[in-house]
Symmetry: C2
Subunit: 363 residues, 2 copies
């Protein structure tokens, strides 16, 4: 079976972090006999500049065919004034929606060598390893009606939060499956005390649990309390499952807690394709960081670790994923640091490609 | 002018913390000549037990007449299985909606004596003093259509996020006015990159700023980035203005950061009444804490400080509000601690009423 990859570097620091990923991919081909058939294309502002849309139809079609899409980042001030429908983010949202990538896996992991970067106390975050499973193809991100409408004498902005039972069911299953391979605990978060969509969410998650995953420990929490508990004692969690919008906020909060924002990858998974592999897109949690783009300052680790997730979830090579993750950990433990990680004494400052060099050496 | 107050102790620890507030109110009458005409009534589960609804019409009518409503807390496991329409929370939401309390002021303040309780590092939170202004009468909490509907073969849960220009306009003004009396800085948070309601939000906040508050420093942030920044370096903020749902989450995260959850008050303000005072409801940020209810363990400070906010915003007695706030700070500095605050060596443990005693003595 060939392994196909579509690389979409995108905007800002996207291209420079992706360049390091490409070197890692080549290393796996040359040294581990793990060959990838790689194509590259445009997304976000970069696509808009060429095609007038943030994702061309041909790119969308290619994304549907490959085993995995690797995305850098989208967006930047240059595109701020664009119409909503062609903003860089719409390219990413189109990929998520049309590939039906309903389960967004966002690990919030604290790297031991970086625990002091957190604004939280060391004992609160060291060793932290939680997995947020965010629903990614529905909810208020995509619900209709939506828009800005005239009404009486003024305008009104409307978005619709909408979840069907089957949408909740499938993401709940993804969370329970993951939990079984980890700490066997799922906490589901919504606002069932004020939103009917949250009531349905809670009910369906409970039903899936009782029917097919009674061995997994399940709890429910209101999303506001969940945000609080993440800040108070994040280690109480193993897997968190939540909707698109709450997941957006809560996973960012969780990511920041670790102090390792430049380190965090994500995977967005859909249904299995004909070859048995899931539709999949991998991207770092960080954004396009236009302020430091093109200066060799960006940390490529999050994007490299996103490729590690691809090895695990798309290519069923958990062994090679672990190899890559260990290499990144070793480099950090050795004190190698990109600019975002430079606080400690005695660390070795490196550029984006210097970090790539160090990881290749560690491999 | 008489000063009228409606006290709604509610559920869980509500009644016991409110009992301490009542003693403080009496002290102001006896010692500072500041008399209040106080009535008391039911809300939440306590109202449901008697009336079959979480807020009786007569209570609603009284709330509309008084200068200020003081609320303890609502909710508890006893009421978990109730129908959505009569859950304890609906009583609180009805008060907010029918009194049209559009500006929810949630200070996130770190008390110096308590900085070590935070899960964040001391230098990140000590001296923290931010004010979150949360829109409270609209958005996804109240938008129609809402409910759980049958559709094809399955059910779908729907809620509607909805903001009109005038709803955004008035809460933005409240935030700018507050900023002028504080650090003169407002940060507005939404998800304008994915939600049209966020686009309208950003546009209206900017317009109000440019027209009437050009002297206030205004910035915009996506709500997920806002959550991150709150965890990373909360002192960058002065006033944050955001919608009902984002405000719910972000204010809880901010509250938890301070380490002083049992200390944090809130004010919910509406339009001025005939006597010039705003419609107003004051309540602690913490919930009903059913697990410790009735044991004399609850910390009454948040509820007492909510009364201090009433002195400032409803009765224009900033001087007396400051007096009460200073008394609370002194008691904390003296090491007096309810159970939630017991971690440090050498502190003096007190019960709920013991804390009331100490504050009265400090006054
Ligand atoms: C870029 C933006 C559209 C996106 C989102 O809101 O989902 C981002 O914040 C994320 O979390 O991946
Ligand atoms: C009790 C609940 C309805 C309420 C809310 O969601 O607004 C609470 O969380 C709050 O923040 O005041």
């Amino acid at each position: 079976m060939t392994n196909t990859l579509l690389i979409l570097p995108g905007d800002g620091i996207g291209p420079e972090v992706m360049a390091e990923v490409t070197r890692i991919i080549d290393w796996f081909g040359a040294r581990r006999g793990l060959k990838f058939d790689v194509s590259e294309d445009l997304v976000g502002g970069a696509a808009y500049d060429v095609h007038g849309v943030p994702l061309a139809d041909a790119t969308m079609a290619r994304a549907q065919e490959v085993d995995a899409v690797l995305l850098g980042a989208v967006g930047g001030p240059k595109y701020d004034a664009l119409d909503f429908s062609v903003k860089p983010e719409r390219g990413l949202l189109r990929l998520r929606k049309e590939m039906d990538l309903f389960a967004n896996l966002r690990p919030a992991q604290c790297f031991d060598a970086l625990a002091d970067f957190s604004s939280l106390k060391r004992d609160v975050v060291s060793g932290l390893d939680i997995m947020i499973v965010r629903e990614l193809t529905s909810g208020v991100y995509f619900g209709e009606p939506r828009g800005i409408f005239e009404e009486k004498d003024e305008r009104v902005g409307i978005n619709t939060q909408r979840y069907t039972e089957s949408e909740i069911d499938r993401v709940a299953r993804a969370a329970f499956e993951l939990a079984r391979k980890r700490g066997n605990k799922v906490c589901s978060m919504e606002k069932a005390n004020v939103m009917e969509s949250g009531i349905l969410w809670r009910e369906v998650v409970q039903r899936v649990h009782d029917a097919d995953y009674p061995d997994v420990e399940l709890s429910h929490m209101y999303a506001d309390a969940g945000g609080m508990q993440l800040c108070r004692w994040p280690k109480q969690f193993d897997v968190i499952v939540t909707d698109n919008l709450f997941g957006d906020l809560l996973s960012d909060v969780a990511a920041m807690l670790t102090g390792s924002l430049g380190m965090l990858p994500s995977a967005s998974l859909g249904a299995p394709m004909a070859n048995g592999r899931p539709k999949a897109l991998y991207e770092p949690v960080h954004g396009s960081a236009p302020d430091i783009a093109g200066q060799g300052k960006a940390n490529p680790c999050a994007c490299i670790l996103s490729f590690a997730m691809a090895l695990r979830y798309s290519f069923d090579r958990g062994d090679e994923a672990t190899r890559l993750e260990r290499a990144v950990e070793k480099v950090l433990a050795d004190g190698v640091r990109t600019a975002d990680l430079m606080q400690a004494e005695g660390a070795t400052p490196v550029s984006t490609s210097g970090m790539g060099d160090a990881i290749l050496a560690a491999l």
